[in-house]
Amino acid sequence: MRSRVFPVLLGILMLCATPHRLSGTETAGTAPADAETVAKEIAMAEASRQRAAEAGAEWVDTGSLIQQAMQAAEVEDWQLALELALRAKQQGELAVEQAARESVTWRERVVQ
């Protein structure tokens, strides 16, 4: 009895843990992909990219990801547009963090 129940429970738990991936309409832990959300996320990604650029630390394809997100939004592929915008936003944030960290830690690498 016990040996039959365990796999069934495990299967239920796995299904509960992955509804977003299966539905294909949302990225895990984020708002649903619609025109309004996408526009907001693209604007946030661009602001994040600009902050990284001002710090001289922009990553190579952040701008390209934003462009691709805008193109996906034009053809109303909201899911793809959202994913691209979120990736771009994260890149911008990580680049700003990197620049802030390096403004202090670079000295540790100087040959003494």
Binding site: A53, G56, A57, E58, W59, V60, D61, T62, G63, Q91, Q98, E102, S103, W106, R107, R109, V110, V111, Q112
Partner: protein
């Protein structure tokens, strides 16, 4: 008596902190000593040959390439261009010390009037501007040929970069130094991670070249691209390779970087133009 001790202790702390911060000359001495300690069998003068100072197999191949140097055409074209007077009758030679012959070792230099670093390629274009000629694109064949010819006439001259006693010059040097040692891009690499810490180690199938001597041989003919490239184009490629957005050639960032990096090679000689894979 305790006051004298305190004073002596304070002086000692000041000396130690200043040496830890490091001025350009302290940096250069430490930088060169690092490589000489790391690769004790490599003669100091051989660092002008980049990775070929460390990798014997690659050196043999390179020496065979040097028998018919692929940069020779650029030197010849540069010599022709250099000798052609502008429309107004002036020449490139009129814009440079010693008529532009054997001056590569003094670039990049700090221009006190403008308060910024001027590279040789920039000086060539500014010479054209002053003589009412259109400027060349920094990756153009013409500009690289002129730079190659001027490097050729400077072969054997000792790199002699000066950081004058001017806070703006020191700031430019420090900015280049910070750039060199700062991690950037999605791969989170600093220039120094590859060319100082990991110099001589493999990156995929190639050895990483040592930073010491890097600027001595530019511009170089890159076989994989089939053309001459400037030091700034190489910077561009490296920055892109660590997945950071590259700066434009002759940007203030790359000029300051060239200033720092070339200062580190003071004492070596110019052997440009060069040939690389």
């Amino acid at each position: 008596m305790p006051k004298i001790r305190q004073l002596l202790f304070f002086c000692l702390c000041m000396v130690l902190s200043v040496s830890a911060l490091g001025g350009p000359e302290e940096d250069r001495i430490a930088f060169q000593a690092y490589f000489q300690e790391r690769f004790p069998d490599v003669p100091f003068a051989d660092y002008i040959n980049g990775i070929y100072a460390l990798d014997e197999n690659a050196r043999q191949q390179w020496m065979e390439i040097e028998e018919f140097p692929p940069y020779e055409f650029a030197v010849e074209e540069g010599e022709t261009l250099f000798g052609q007077p502008f429309e107004n009758g002036n020449t490139y030679g009129d814009c440079f010390d010693n008529q532009g012959i054997g001056v590569r070792q003094n670039y990049p230099r700090f221009d006190p009037e403008r308060g910024e670093v001027v590279t040789l390629e920039m000086a060539i274009n500014e010479c054209r501007q002053r003589n009412d000629e259109p400027v060349y694109s920094y990756d153009s064949e013409e500009l690289l040929s002129l730079s190659a010819y001027m490097a050729w006439t400077s072969r054997g001259n000792m790199i002699s970069i000066v950081v004058p006693d001017d806070p703006r010059a020191l700031a430019a040097y420090e900015s280049g130094k910070q750039f060199y040692y700062s991690k950037r891009g999605q791969l989170n690499f600093a220039c120094s991670d590859c060319h100082v810490t990991s110099a001589g180690l493999y990156v995929r199938a190639d050895h990483l070249s040592p930073a010491l001597g890097h600027p001595s041989h530019f511009p170089v003919y890159r076989s994989k691209l089939g053309k001459m490239i400037s030091l700034h184009e190489r910077f561009y490629g490296c920055i892109r390779d660590v997945r950071a957005k590259p700066f434009a050639e002759q940007s203030i960032e790359y000029r300051d970087l060239e200033y720092f990096l070339t200062y580190m090679s003071n004492g070596l000689v110019v052997n440009g133009p060069g040939a690389r894979k």
